[in-house]
Homo-oligomer: 277 residues x 2
């Protein structure tokens, strides 16, 4: 058996990305430059490129004036999942048009020019598809693309990077059909390797260092055709999601529903009747 | 600048772990054997060892007869977070005594001997501390330990590995005090590197292959004293958690509270008065 092993490193020398930039060329130029010092750093068959959504969004012209930030959040929001007022303002956790559940619809003010805010790429899977197709054609190798963003999560502190767009690789490894080392069937284990790779790449990309791209090498087993499902397939359907609303929001909804029943007034919509529930 | 880079590989040759086994010795023996073929695989200063909780639990004698599984789940449960009945039975998401929110209190039937179920380590941070201290002493190098388990999550399909125990390394990188590449302050970014490393290691450890240990090399910047906070510090406090109950549970609680108020019967405890809320 080959030793299961991979490595990850940052691509250095990616310039500040501007509206209309050709990301494939920026990345190839940076990789070529890096490979001058160490030929092993050239892209190779089976590599996975992990790209921060920030530079994809910048290349796609997704900057908006900071004064339009609230409007953009509203436009990019499909539904509000939870909301909390605190000293620093309001934290609004929403579902975005991309199916992602995140604070402020992923609209970000850091690492963007003064006076601007940055929306997510319109369709990160499509962005990944296009980048993957161009790079495969130009380099003549099969590689995978993951576009990442930084997410908070319930129950645990802090943030990790996850995959919001992907192309040319398998995003999960389904262990359900397999057996464990004792020959017993493995239950309910679908390892979401795309998110694990996104997090792994964050360990070298960093947020403050201006290193928005990483190469992951050694996981070529996951690289596949361009027709593989994108990161949208990682979004859990609302029907299967036991945490589709914030606790306080769901409580309030239950409370209002019962009150309406007893007061005979306008009935609140029961949770079970809400959109997507 | 040194190129940000790391690599991860599986430690091969760890035998089936039994109650009372000395994990440090099992791991060192397997690593030594592996290093015979490739000296680079010997443990080195700054390495991080990622260990599946399963073998820690086995060494600590945490097997229970399968017939006592339900009892063990109840014993290890601090509170039920969400519950759903489906064709395959009941999925109960609970908070464990370790502060972890997971299905069935993390009690697992796969990769354990027939007729048994396996509880989590009693105190995974303590397990990590002990293993880390022994290995540091024996090898004369500073290394970090992460003990992992496999978790589902809201909103996204599938499972990823996260850190449930840790010692000798920094678990987060706090970007809040820093500036982005444009000199603007970075908001609310605490990168939970311990979980990202846990996920990265899962890419080589695998679940079915009997490879419960991985080495991660190149992240020595995170390795620190044995007094660093453990993985318990990654548990978000209930006060700060907007998803402390399942949506259906919170809805029902709100409904029952209002009904009790209107009927003048026994009042349900409002969400705000529940334990830890």
């Amino acid at each position: 058996m080959t030793l299961p092993r991979f490595s990850a490193w940052a691509v250095t020398g990616i310039p500040e990305v501007l509206d209309g930039d050709d990301l494939a060329t920026l990345i190839c130029d940076a990789v070529d430059k890096q490979a001058e010092g160490d030929a092993e750093l050239a892209l190779a068959e089976g590599d996975i490129l992990v790209v921060a959504s920030k530079i994809v969004a910048k290349a796609e012209g997704r900057l908006v004036p900071a004064t339009d930030r609230e409007k953009a959040i509203t436009e990019d929001t499909v539904r509000v999942v939870a909301e909390r007022v605190h000293a620093g303002g309001v934290t609004r956790i929403v579902e975005t048009r991309q199916g992602l559940i995140m604070a402020a619809a992923g609209i970000d003010m850091s690492n963007v020019p003064d006076g601007f805010a940055l929306r997510l790429p319109e369709d990160p899977d499509l962005s990944a598809q296009q980048l993957c197709a161009i790079l495969r054609e130009r380099l003549g190798i099969s590689l995978g693309i993951i576009i990442t963003d930084t997410f908070g999560r319930p129950w645990r502190v802090g943030q990790t990077d996850v995959a919001i767009g992907a192309a040319g690789l398998q995003l999960t490894e389904d262990m359900r059909g397999g057996n464990d080392a004792n020959g017993r069937p493995l239950h309910a284990t679908i390892a979401v390797v795309a998110d694990e790779i996104a997090g792994a790449a964050d360990l070298v990309k960093g947020k403050a260092g201006g290193l928005p791209v990483a190469v992951v090498r050694g996981l070529g087993r996951l690289v596949t055709g361009l027709d593989a499902p994108g990161a949208r397939s990682l979004v859990r359907s609302l029907e299967e999601d036991m945490f589709r609303f914030g606790s306080a929001e769901a409580y309030q909804l239950g409370y209002d529903t019962a009150r309406a029943e007893f007061e005979g007034g306008a009935a609140a919509t029961p949770l079970a009747g809400r959109q997507g529930n």
